[in-house]
Symmetry: C2
């Protein structure tokens, strides 16, 4: 998981192990990272899963078999999908910086577009004619300025943004598998995107997107991008989730103002009140983003345990002290270390065991809760 300027390159065997690990039960992007840090590699992590789960108080999790992973890789090949690992040359550089970056991305189309500076444009599915028009204007202006566009292939603003950037490059970030386009009527639009642009997802082929996959997907839209433009958004809409994630990821957030009488502007006006940059034309965006195109993002904080030496097995009472401190309300790892009076590496190991056992969830910012 190299994040420097030197890209890594996985062997076929390593890629298979990475795929098995991320497709195994109770292993999300953050747990994947913790496992690699603890065990030294994906193969060792796969072997450790049953023991970790047992120590965490559960039966062994379902581990993705070698055969399953081989079948997925074979299907990807047939479907023209590449699996790019975090740290590899084709892995989008900005996405790599978020703390829940997918270990493997399934990409299809023209990977070159990922080397362009990306701006996300998102908004209401039931866009107004004015919203669609503004989206086209912004998109054309950004494309002329050398940006490519990322969006979610949804109806309304997303589709307008993709359509207006077909010739210059556009990235559709999917909530399901590469072969499960949502909404289905955008299958043709996606096909039109691929010659110059890209479809990208962290989900396996065949995965039908569920409701909760969309907000999860939204972190990739913002994570890929220098900034996110919200064109129209009602209150409590998915676009506002993308904006929140962008704020958390340290990305620029732009919002298009609208009349207080227009319900589609409630979300964007509220974002502006919260500090999003109001924008009325593409230049407003370009002038903010152009200076930071080459700039480094603050480096993602590496988990400290990576260099902690040989792994420990926590003693029973140490494990119990940590478990007793956990609740459904998220608590920080720092607090757990302080309150449990155990060493950081013991606490982290207990947490990893509990994650693999499916008993806790890892959130952003080093927060954990009982699941």
């Amino acid at each position: 998981m190299n994040e420097g300027t030197q890209p890594i390159k996985l062997t076929d065997e390593q890629r298979l192990d990475w795929l098995r690990l991320i497709r195994s039960q109770n292993v999300g992007p953050r747990t994947f990272r913790a496992l690699l840090n603890h065990c030294g590699g994906a193969r060792a992590a796969l072997e450790a899963l049953p023991t970790l789960a047992r120590r965490g108080g559960a039966a062994a999790p379902q581990i993705c078999s070698r055969e399953q992973a081989e079948r997925e890789i074979e299907a990807c090949g047939k479907f023209g999908v590449a699996l790019v690992a975090l740290g590899e040359a084709n892995y989008p550089r900005r996405l790599q910086m978020i703390d829940d970056a997918p270990p493997l991305l399934a990409i299809r189309g023209n990977a070159e577009v990922l080397s362009m500076p990306l701006v996300a444009i998102v908004g209401s599915r039931n866009a107004s004619a004015a919203g669609a028009k503004i989206t086209e204007r912004f998109t054309r202006g950004l494309c002329e300025a050398g940006f490519a566009i990322a969006s979610g292939l949804a109806r309304g603003i997303d589709a307008a943004a993709h359509r207006a950037s077909l010739t210059s490059g556009t990235v559709a970030v999917l909530a399901g598998g590469q072969d499960r386009v949502y909404p289905p009527e955008h299958t043709d639009l996606l096909e039109a995107i691929l010659p110059t642009g890209l479809a990208l997802t962290e989900m396996p082929l065949g995965w039908e997107p569920r409701a909760r996959d969309f907000p999860r997907r939204n972190r990739l839209i913002s994570g890929l991008s220098l900034g996110v433009v919200i064109v129209e958004a009602a209150k409590r809409s998915g676009s506002l989730i993308t904006a929140r994630l962008a704020f958390e990821q340290g990305r620029e957030v732009f919002a298009v103002p609208g009349s207080p009488l227009d319900p589609r502007a409630e979300g964007t006006n509220s974002l502006i009140k919260q500090g999003a940059t109001p924008v009325t034309d593409a230049d407003d965006i370009v002038s903010v983003l152009r200076p930071i195109i080459g700039a480094d993002l603050p480096a993602r904080e590496e988990d400290a345990e990576a260099d902690e030496g040989p792994q420990v097995e926590p003693a029973h009472d140490e494990r119990q002290r940590v478990i007793a401190l956990l609740s459904p309300a998220p608590v920080s790892i720092d607090d757990l270390i302080r309150l449990s009076r155990s060493s950081p590496r013991v606490v982290r190991m207990v947490l990893l065991e509990l994650e693999i056992a499916g008993r806790i969830e890892r959130h952003g910012d080093g927060m954990m809760s009982l699941s």
Copy 2:
């Protein structure tokens, strides 16, 4: 020109002198203040005008005669207009704090409204139906929260703001005399305002407002108010002047966002980009203003020469050095003092002479230019 909590009360004779002085040629609000500081009172200032003008290199300015002033006061009495002097109990407390506050205000109606916290609501003359609706909503919300409304009696947003605040109190700030309502079709609206509200102007009865009187008037709209709300405004509109003056006077500036496709929102969106607070309902305004209702404004800086003792007559070469430093581009008094190597009181006296001679103009922030 007391600005503390103790109001002053002019005698009839003093009020007559103040009126003569402010109605004399080349005496604006800032020069009035400088004259009172230099000469110790309005009577002494009137007597000094010919000498000052002569020393400044011009014939004596037209001085408002005692008879003219008496006629104006008599006409005011017949028309129900009171002339309130800066520092008197009825003079609006916030307006008193701006550096070009009128020495005398002509008010007509219910002066009680000036003791309420005021919010200015201004905007396009050719308001949209949506703009008028938003204005009504905001106005009603502010009135319910205990604010009175100030505006400019113009068509469009101004009129909508006055109409929606008729019962709770509204202040119409005029660019001309009290008997010269503009636009004329708003004469009835003004009559409807007076039972609970007020008409206010610094101009004499009979004064037909000229184009340049409107921006000048706008400083009173913002100066009276805790904050200014711009509802709709095209680029380069009078409402943007009011917003700029409000920024300069340290008042809160609120702007209503609108669609980038709506030309009436160009001005307000641009204000938001410049730091105005975006507002979509009255509560957004109330929550900012309520905490500062009672708060003191930063005290207006008194001219330092007030306590400088006996007046001086600058020597010829001192005067020439100051004159040589002036140009049509405004220069600060501090720079003039530094570059002329004269004493502050000599420089200030030269400037006063030149003002009375009609050769220079005094701007805000202690800046002067050749006129």
